[in-house]
Symmetry: C2
Subunit: 295 residues, 2 copies
């Protein structure tokens, strides 16, 4: 929804990334204007279930009050979960004091503690602290995939193709000829699905390499060109090439660079410098849409 | 900069009006996304001197934190004055608590008390409380025009055309042949210049008719069509026709309707209903630009 750094431009709004999966819309960061960007992206804000905030700089959070207010106007009743670094409760208080926010639903703010934040039937969301000038969280989401169903083995055990196959694949036991067949007998080993990682704002970080290992998609900030590496370092940001080095070391499939400083009228240089290190790199644009399909 | 009501749309951002005059940019209301709308409108936020807030509903104020933060990033040093209704100091506190706002300049918040807020050499800005479901201020700005310079009278008094004419017109005394000539001797009566008024959010109000009397331009909210007059009444808003009645009674030159509910895909009906009452009516669109010239 937004791909700028601190100051937006004609073409880039403040940071926000939307993930549509598992019947949910999950946001990562929520810069000013996100609620309107969602309209342009044709994503209903009512479907947002969770928002993960990387850090508490204004450009990453100032869309929250208006989004929450708009959800109230739209009559939302489902709760909204907002996760973020230490300080997120102060943000909650400030938002609630910001004016007349009419709340028809519960907004639950959560301070991220420990690595695993959510581990449900569909996915695992984790976070680690990385290296910005305030507390920054990088996030990953890993899809859980059902193990393969060992069809031949099931037939050998006397299970008939049909509903019993489905039950077993979904983890239920079935009864065949007075014999209990358990899922473990007919399922392959656990498999991981798609992994997507997002850096938030950070300097290059070895911890991040481990954390984003083997991601299908890494969305990494690249505020600066390589020529401005000193500025990147000073402000705890990354260059495009530094992000590409992370992508290469972490063996990811694809790298998308975002959080581009408005000082650059032309972003080709950032992309080229990154591609020299890691070829499958693109620069994000607002409303860029990427589809990832499980094998 | 923005012409929507509570929920923005593809075509309308949250409310904000910019006035360029007297070497200043003055904002009336500052909805979410105003800082980016300014980029599209090619108005430098660094030139904003004063912001007048009509009321503290989120759609009218949530652009303030991001705008203030961006001015800090741009290295502003000049102070910024923000005026608004009672409660504006709580907003100030909430904004300061909203995250890491880096301030390189002073933001002075002022609670509007009494009718006249600013009375300087160039203009008078006034406000009155009108009828919304929270404290709403309607504003007017009246240009001060120099009185006419009575050239013939000045020559008769022995003043020579040139710098002394300028001094007298600017209100300074001059000495001619050991005689003091005072401005009052050579100036006509005081004249009013352009008057612009803005309703903020309000029900139709007789007080407002008096307050906006003889405006060259009245910018009035018209959240609803006439068919939804009951909703307008319930939520302390106006229909387009009601705004037109204010314009007619107040003998204004021109009416611009704004704060249009996103429920209406087509706004022709609102305009037509208003034009039946007051012909010189238009519906605002984002980035609509109106030039007014002093006679």
């Amino acid at each position: 929804m937004g791909t700028s750094s601190a100051i937006p431009s004609r073409h880039r709004n403040h940071p926000s990334i939307g993930l549509k999966a598992f019947g949910e819309v999950i946001l990562f960061d929520c810069g000013e204007g996100t609620q309107r960007q969602l309209i342009f992206a044709k994503i209903s804000p009512m479907k947002i279930t969770k928002i993960f905030i990387s850090h508490l700089h204004g450009d990453h959070v100032l869309g929250l009050p208006g989004l929450i207010e708009s959800l109230g106007f739209r009559g939302r009743t489902e709760p909204l979960d907002v996760y973020g670094p230490p300080g997120i409760f102060n943000l909650e208080i400030a938002i609630n004091n910001l004016g007349s926010i009419s709340k028809t639903f519960v907004t639950a703010f959560h301070e991220v503690e420990g690595r695993t934040i959510i581990d449900n039937d569909d996915y695992i969301i984790q976070a680690i602290k990385t290296h910005h000038n305030i507390y920054n969280l990088s996030y990953s989401i890993v899809e859980k995939k059902k193990p393969r169903f060992l069809r031949k083995k099931a037939i050998k055990l006397g299970v008939k193709p049909g509903t019993d196959f489905g039950k077993l694949h979904n983890g239920e036991t079935v009864k065949v000829n007075n014999k209990i067949i358990s899922p473990e007998q007919v399922l392959g080993k656990n498999r991981s699905g798609i992994k997507i990682s997002y850096s938030g704002d950070t300097k290059p970080s070895d911890d991040l390499v481990d954390f984003v290992k083997d991601s299908n998609l890494l969305i990494h900030e690249s505020t600066y060109q390589q020529a401005d590496e000193d500025k990147a370092n000073e402000h705890y940001h990354s260059t495009g090439r530094q992000a590409a080095e992370i992508a290469k070391k972490a063996n990811v499939d694809r790298l998308i660079l975002t959080h581009i400083s408005s000082r650059y009228k032309n972003v080709d240089k950032i992309r080229e410098e990154a591609c020299e290190v890691f070829e499958n790199t693109d620069i994000a644009s607002d409303f860029l849409k990427i589809e990832l399909n499980s094998n």
